[in-house]
């Protein structure tokens, strides 16, 4: 009798989370990291709408479980090549977060986020000053120069592309590219770690950008006041999304999904006839997708994925990509300032990275620090929204030249 009781208790212990924790003590470390992120989101207010779902997803996927059927997320599934059998396995045997992660793997969430962003974006400053497109293009230099750096570190083409896209400072685009390139690739990297690095650096825009901006511009340049922009007509704003989608799709078809959804959201907004759809896209849909995206991306941050040298490389190259993007944007803005005879404030160049609207806000703040009567916000919004289009085009280029 005593033996039976002992066997039952022993069996219960062996299938309990405690046994799982004893087998994989690194899970405890990952849970502590998730608690740190929760603290940063709740107490410090660092991007709480994203960091809180990501950190809780990380916490859930690192909960110790011994039996595969008890796991909420199976990291092993996501390194396998996609097939019909694989999809059936995920749907049949996967945990809740596996099923939610399908939206990332199948590139559904990034496109839906772009739809929501489109309904919230005013391309007016960009239409008023189309030259801002060039600043949005220059800032993508961070992506391609980081590709070069990652290549020299001996990484594979898929890894180089997935890390480099962090330089676009665009979370959904990073997820879109890395989920395609790393699918079935021979790599220790995964979409979750790329997304985590991308969102971390986006939250750190106010820390990373200002020193570079001050280093590459003079006090005199930062004080330059730019004339007020013209107000584009409603017709221009309606035609803009159609024209951009058409041109981008003709030149870089791989970027059509992202740019198309961005512009679809924008035409819903600018047309003024689909108020209910706009309301849904920018509120309910955006919030739902953000929850699913955050929690499922966070779930991929398991000990095996994060506690390794490759993740450190992602973090190092990510910050290089981000800084290079900022510097390239500033460099072209300085050139435009020189060519225009001092009419362009170089600070708006750093907004070419597509962290909307944070990067534009930093340009405004730095300009106001040099001269409190200087208002650069709307001038910086042009390159900022151009950066969103630019990073989507850069993503399309990477997907075109790297076979996945």
């Amino acid at each position: 009798m005593l033996q039976i009781l002992q066997d039952i208790l022993s069996g219960l212990f062996e299938t309990s989370g405690l046994a799982g924790l004893a087998a994989e003590p690194l899970k405890l470390l990952m849970m502590c990291v998730s608690f740190l992120f929760m603290y940063l989101a709740i107490v410090k207010g660092f991007e709480p709408l994203l960091l809180l779902p990501i950190s809780f997803g990380m916490f859930l996927s690192n909960l110790p479980a011994v039996l595969p059927e008890d796991m909420i997320f199976h990291a092993a599934y996501w390194n396998e090549p996609q097939s019909v059998e694989w999809l059936w396995k995920v749907l049949h045997d996967g945990g809740l977060l596996d099923k939610l992660y399908l939206g990332v793997k199948l590139q559904i969430y990034p496109c839906l986020i772009f739809l929501g962003i489109g309904t919230m974006t005013d391309f007016g400053p960009l239409i008023a000053n189309p030259k801002s497109f060039l600043l949005g293009a220059a800032a993508q230099g961070g992506i391609f120069f980081t590709f070069l750096a990652a290549g020299y570190m001996g990484m594979s083409a898929a890894e180089c592309g997935s890390i480099a896209i962090i330089g676009g400072a665009d979370g959904p685009t990073s997820i879109y590219v890395s989920s395609k390139l790393l699918d079935g690739a021979d790599s220790n990297l995964n979409t979750g770690t790329i997304a985590l690095a991308a969102y971390t650096y986006m939250a750190l825009v106010p820390v990373i950008q200002p020193p570079i901006m001050r280093l590459l511009t003079t006090e005199k340049e930062r004080k330059i006041k730019m004339p007020q922009l013209r107000t584009p007509s409603k017709t221009e704003k309606i035609i803009f999304p159609v024209v951009v989608t058409l041109i981008v799709a003709l030149l870089v078809p791989s970027a059509a999904s992202l740019v198309g959804m961005l512009m679809f959201g924008n035409i819903l907004k600018e047309s003024g006839v689909a108020g209910r759809l706009v309301d849904t896209a920018q509120n309910a849909l955006m919030n739902i997708v953000t929850i699913f995206l955050g929690v499922s991306v966070g779930a991929t941050c398991t000990a095996s994925n994060v506690a390794n040298w490759d993740f450190i490389k992602v973090l190092i190259l990510g910050v290089i990509a981000f800084s290079l993007g900022t510097a390239c944007g500033l460099g072209l803005a300085k050139l435009m300032n020189w060519l225009s005879g001092g009419k362009v404030n170089p600070l708006i160049g750093s907004a070419g990275v597509s962290a909307v609207p944070m990067a534009a806000r930093i340009s405004q703040q730095e300009g106001a620090k040099a001269d409190p009567t200087n208002f650069l916000l709307m001038h910086a919004m042009g390159p900022n929204v151009a950066g969103v289009i630019g990073s989507a085009v850069a993503a399309g280029v990477l997907l075109s030249v790297i076979n996945y």
Binding site: P130, F133, Q140, L148, A157, F240, L251, P357, Q364, G390
Partner: protein
């Protein structure tokens, strides 16, 4: 690297690089970097030209529409004899209490005084007068100099912009 080799590699890029290839050749690394940056800049430069063109077309359309509308308004306008130029009377404010008139900031006579603005200024001066216990008299009202260190904007406009931008 030899330019011909680079060109050759760029052409090969059209077929794409194997995602799992490790390590990449120099020509592949530089090829992706140069082609990628070039394509992004070219795509956005085309957008610059197209959007500028659209802007010019719409500006022209708007100008034509405005010119047409003003021409029609001119036609409809009945012919009137030129009105005599009305000199803006110096606005005065009676003293609320018996007190010695204090110094008033003298300004140049305004050519076109806006009655509403003068009413607001008078109300503010009256309030100041009550608070200070002194009598002020408005002799004239004129628009302040534009060259005021605020980039040609009035203090009100500056304050409005500051309030709008501060939340960012």
């Amino acid at each position: 690297m030899h330019p011909l080799l680079l060109a050759n590699q760029l052409i090969m890029l059209a077929g794409g690089i194997d995602g799992n290839k490790r390590p990449l050749d120099d020509s592949e690394k530089w090829g992706v970097t140069l082609v990628g940056l070039g394509v992004v800049i070219a795509a956005l430069a085309i957008l610059v030209v197209v959007i500028m063109l659209f802007g010019k077309i719409f500006d022209q359309i708007n100008k034509n529409q405005k010119a047409k509308a003003s021409a029609e308004a001119e036609k409809k306008k009945p012919k009137q004899a030129p009105a005599p130029v009305k000199k803006a009377p110096a606005e005065t404010k009676p003293a609320p209490a018996a007190a010695k008139p204090a110094a008033v900031p003298a300004v140049a006579p305004a050519a076109e005084d806006d009655e509403e603005v003068i009413a607001v200024i008078s109300a503010v001066v009256a309030m100041m007068s009550e608070q200070d216990g002194k009598t002020y008299r408005i002799k004239s009202v004129a628009k302040s100099q534009r060259n005021n260190g605020f980039g040609g904007r009035s203090a009100w406009a500056m304050d409005g912009r500051r309030q709008n931008v501060n939340p960012f």
